[in-house]
Amino acid sequence: MFNHLEINNKLERILINVERPGRYTGGELNEVLKSWEDTQTHVALVFPEIYDIGLSNLGITVLYDLLNKRNDVWAQRAYLPWVDMEAALRRANIPLYALESKRPLSEFDIIGISLPYETLYTNALNMLDLAQIPIFSASRDESHPLVIAGGHAAYNPEPMADFIDAFAIGEGEEVICDIVNVFQAWKERAEPRDNLLKDLSGIPGVYVPSLYQPVYLSDGRIAEYKPLFPQAPHQVTKRIVAELPPPPTHLIVPSIDIVHNRVAVEIMRGCTRGCRFCHAGMVNRPVRERPIEQVISAIEESLKHTGYEEIALLSLSSSDYTNILELVEKVSERFNSQHLKTSLPSLRIESFSIDLMELLRDSRSGGFTLAPEAASEKMRNIINKPIATQQLLETVRAIYSRGWTTIKLYFMIGHPSETLEDVQAIADLCKAVLEEGRKAIGRKAKLHAGVSTFVPKPHTPFQWVSGDTMEEIRVKQDLLRKQLRAPGLKLNWSDPRDTMLEAVLTRGDRRVGAAIYGAWKNGAKFDAWREFFNYDTWLAAFEHAGIDPAFYTHRQRDLDEVFPWDHIHIGVSKSFLLKDYQWSLQGKLRPDCRDHCYACGILSTFAESRKNTPAESWKCPEVA
């Protein structure tokens, strides 16, 4: 194994021969450098995708900032090298290293992997392998780093349970420091690794999979996850921060062009809309907003530290931010004159959204994006995203006539109970929208329709439903392709094979881990990339692992079925999700819970936090 100086020397010969070598050098503005020897604990934060995508990841940015504020911790970064660099590293036997110090990841104390989505699973294994760290948790000992993971996909940790020592469930801001503290205490005592894992399981929000034994029924379903250690909690409840801390402002500025070059400020966390397909909407409750002054000063500070030319106000639903008009007015007042472009995602389908966008500089240069998701009233009621077609048409008419030539509409096919008539309604609606554009501005009017395919997600009201089969998806997509052929109209759809893979992994159990390992062994990586995704490799891996993908994707679950993620508690109760599912079957809407509490479980789960937090910080209404 090479040390960091040798790695640096070897890199000089390699970098000139790989694509975009600036991905692999570190040394960017605002990178944090410390003395390796003088720092007690070394944490490598890994985003298992290429630098171009990973650098701007907000989760990593937040944790990097928080950890490096501690004098006893040095948090560094690593991303997955692109295939040319991977080959060069393997050829030269250079282990994957952290960008700041060029130290191999294997020299770190803790490796924290971000897992926001399932198609990163094989990349995570590849990353461990490139770092020359044993892939299986059970093969690692005291000489290896502790490997932890978090992120949205970790709300169902089971598919990756064999590879990750401990999962941080929920929001990472506080739990990451608890983990470091427990690690430091354990290291001080020089105890065996098993003790570390047991200690970690005592931290609220930390799930240590090796302390649980899955028990299966004869039909393959889950009987239970049996704790193997008396103190291991039967259910691990996610962590939240009671109040959003001020956002990081010393953002790392890459020296090469990446996907998102911008100051991104999370203005709000969580969503009260309750769309039944939406994983983020269920797992990120309660809704917490950052005060306007905090957002503005964070933007100001960040611009001062970065010099970026773009601002993004992030949230799951911008329109729901309490004082969105005031916020956008202030942003435009302060920053429009500085040649700064501002993006405001996830706007409601109403003319007020156009007023907001008009306040932002340059906003007409991109398209205007709306996400109706469904086109028939029946489907809108099922998914709990009501919007009157009439209102949609009025809104798009106004968008076209107020200066936008392109509208982007996002839909989803494959929701439960969907028929071909409902899919036809999507085609009809697209045509009607384009027709409005024609009437308003003639041939200049363009429509981009993005139609993705629904995947039933854990911890949502649709966790019980069967997903569409590949054949059903193809028929629906064919219909759309046939219908939506017109000048000015562009249709995008998702590859049904991607959908199938995501569907197995997202509701997978611990047995699925063998298939992830097998697929990676046979070359699967960068599964989110068209040029690398190989469905046949995955099918072979499922077969080899004795897994029937249909068991996970196309099976309607019994209402009392035990799910592989039931021992993970998101704060929203399973009984609430079940009731919401039953309402969906009746086509019954669940209104926005900002106005009325439907007792999803968040307030009772986090009663203590709620009590100690100013009332206005959470957007949950007062409950009698």
Binding site: E12, R13, I14, L15, I16, N17, R20, P21, G22, Y24, T25, G27, E28, L29, E31, V253, S255, I256, D257, N261, L303, K304, H305, T306, G307, Y308, E309, H339, S365
Partner: protein, 219 residues
């Protein structure tokens, strides 16, 4: 509006930042410095900045030149004071001059460029010297780049051996033509010397402008 010429070094942390990205890096430094960049007119206004001569990826430089236009009439001292603390690792500003607004674009003033090569692999000084002499004494050096045939020899203005560096690695200097339509590439010269890419460290040490006297330090 004023026009300034910034002489800067591109050092190790920016070595693998390509020319387009360096433009962005400099633009952001100027923004952080709160220097009011002038923008072009039109539908997509761009900051008015020009680099003298693109530096290939993988090279560092002690002698880069950037011209840019500022909306406000600031003193060079003030500009320097604001700019210095805003620079990212890998960019070091050596000096700032004031340039007449009417002056032609800096790209059109470039005449030649000078590079120092340090060889990472061991090679006897006599051997290297002989290879260099071979090239200098040749009448023509026919080469092909991206399917186009050309003669490298007239683009090489000079090559000189330098004293080895502190690690006893051989070094030499080359001065190459850099006029429009007649630009010698350092990596092509290395190839002509039979040195593999990645086996030599290249530093640009000078950009020669045709008319350097018109750029005067502000009194």
């Amino acid at each position: 509006m004023i026009r300034i010429r910034i002489y800067y070094a591109k050092t190790e942390p920016m070595r693998y930042t390509g020319n387009l990205d360096i433009n962005k890096v400099l633009e952001r430094a100027l923004r952080r410095a709160d220097l009011p960049l002038a923008y072009s007119q039109g539908f997509h206004p761009q900051p008015r900045m020009n680099q003298a001569c693109p530096l290939p990826l993988g090279m560092t430089s002690t002698a880069e030149i950037l011209d840019c236009w500022l909306e406000e009439d600031l003193s060079l001292e003030e500009i320097n004071n604001r700019l210095q603390p805003a620079l990212p690792p890998g960019i070091e500003v050596e000096s700032i001059l004031s340039v007449d607004l009417q002056e032609p674009k800096v790209q059109t003033l470039v005449d030649s460029t000078e590079y120092t090569a340090t060889l990472l692999d061991e090679i006897p000084a006599e051997e290297l010297s002989a290879r260099i002499q071979n090239i200098l004494s040749a009448d023509t050096l026919p080469r092909e780049r991206r399917g186009k045939k050309y003669d490298l020899r007239p683009l090489i203005e000079n090559m000189v051996m330098l004293a080895p560096d502190e690690n006893d690695r051989q070094r030499f200097l080359m001065k190459l033509a850099a006029r429009q339509g007649a630009t010698g590439r350092a990596d092509e010269v290395l190839d002509a010397l039979n040195i593999q890419p990645g086996a030599a460290r290249l530093v640009r040490t000078r950009i020669y402008l045709l008319n350097p006297v018109t750029a005067q330090p502000q009194e």
